[in-house]
Amino acid sequence: MSATPFPAGPIQRCQGRAVVVAGDDIDTDRIIPARYLKCVTFDGLAEGVFADDRSERAGDHPFDRAENQGAAILVVNRNFGCGSSREHAPQALMRWGLRAVIGESFAEIFFGNCLALGIPCLSADHDAVLALQAAIGAHPGAVLQLDLEPPRVRLDAGSEVLEWPLTLAAGPRRMLVSGEWNGTAQLVAHDGELRATASRLPYLNNFAAA
């Protein structure tokens, strides 16, 4: 479990060890099986992260290996986080200690849920992700340096520093870097605009002709 505080304020970089969970289409049912959703707070979710995959692999799952304990960056492949919209999935990953995810691609709802928690999901192409995963495997315990501006990741391999460019759409990047990713206050502040919108919606106005 994580000792670092949950994300807050502007997020420009992330530094830490990486944990690789290889495979495409890893869905949120696998990240946090449904039985862990029976809760009224998110507090205990770290225990359930990848619970079924971990018991299937009896201690050999990346999340159970000693060298990965305390990792801050998750490295995955294609379409990570597909399936259910449960925010319990990024919550569980965050509570386990993760602060950023790098992968080939992400399911949209998962990406948005991570963004709302201040967890950047950055992409790289297939070959780059495979190379990054291989480099992490070859240098267990190496620290990754992840930057959002410009988006890139560096791995200090001792004799050399390996670097890969990453992508993160401009909108989410600005939100994270500026600290505006937790935008409830901003939405609420647009009171006049919200009223104006409601007043022009036919179904809120007895379908009166506009």
Partner: protein, 482 residues
Amino acid sequence: MSAGTLYDKVWELHRVADLPGGATQLFIGLHLIHEVTSPQAFAALDDLGLTVRHPERTVATVDHIVPTTSQARPFADPLAEAMLATLEGNCARHGITLHGLGSGRQGIVHVIAPELGLTQPGMTVACGDSHTSTHGAFGAIAFGIGTSQVRDVLASQSLAMGKLKVRRIRVDGALQSGVYAKDLVLHVIRTLGVKGGVGYAYEFAGPAIEALSMEERMTLCNMAIEGGARCGYVNPDAVTFAYLKGRPHAPSGDAWERAVAWWSSLASGPEASFDDEVVFDAATIAPTITWGITPGQAIGVDETVPTLEQTESDERPIAEEAYRYMDLRPGAPIEGVPVDVCFIGSCTNGRLSDLRAAAAVARGRQVAAGIKAFVVPGSEQVAAEAEAEGLDAVFRAAGFEWREPGCSMCLAMNPDRLEGRQISASSSNRNFKGRQGSATGRTLLMSPAMVAAAAVSGHVADVRRLVAVPTTPQPEPASTRA
């Protein structure tokens, strides 16, 4: 970039402001909540000292955790009881209508909102559940959201969102008898892939779509998300209006005519342009069934489990994982695969027409020895209507259990679940590993009629051989309900 589509029109109308991060603040016309994804959102609202902006546009029900055998309170499972009690408390505190157990209106959130007439064309609909895409059947823009966004919608009746691209999925021709919307959507997902729709809204159009009933359109849009599309929709038409007329929350009196005029104006016109278009021929689609661990791993019931050689190279790792997990042999026919459990229900296929189609197969037959088969109506209203038609008796006589409404074995948050390596024939929407409650349990997704065919045969069977399926659509369920 798309222009002139229903999606573009509805988006523009609900646009509140442009946000500094580049996203749009979008007004949400209808916010549906349930016991699983709302408690933390209400807690966050309290932390921020905020209140619910539009309690009258927020509607709650309880579905995921309710037992389907006995719904007496308190539930045997204290966690489930705590979740419902929390929802009840939050709704009471904020003045939100909760359609609770025994109210006559409780049910799966994506079943009750349409049947109450809450879901209407031209609305934006959000719910902390990915199958919110269901409501797109009415020509609404409807999508699932996470708990942080549930908090945002409670607080501001809006959320931050990026605009999607629009792909038109045009389906020509007509579905064969014995082939349903479920088969059509599994076929679309099989063809375009589970990631094919990422970044898109799917507009379903063409003669085969126009011929679908509202309930079938809901099945179709429900599973858009399984193809990666966060929302799917069908342009509103006479079928939509006929379904809505007379429902409790539908407009009435003079407002009805004005509503129909406005709704009609929203449909994508001939001038509309799309980011992409894909064309299907409905007549070539067979009853379709999944063999693997994603909804895209689907084949016609008369096909064989694809071999690695028949699989695109980037799909091979997940195919190999599926062979191992499902214990199905590549190249073997799917028809004849024995099943242990047969489940008819869920927000995909738990409506009256689904139960009618399954009952037509079950009528006068018996569930095969050793098979557990059960039917879970999608809502209290569906249950009442089915019972009024005697469908419960048909199922019971055939050896099915007839249960109380809820999400049931669609996901493992209530007592209904697979055990060990059991394999199910299921009318639900996800065949992910462990989805139905056992870490090694296996799921074959198919239409409700196909589930009934599997139940009476003891194995996967082609429903087209079991019954002369009616070719003329039956009338929609009664639209008026007090």
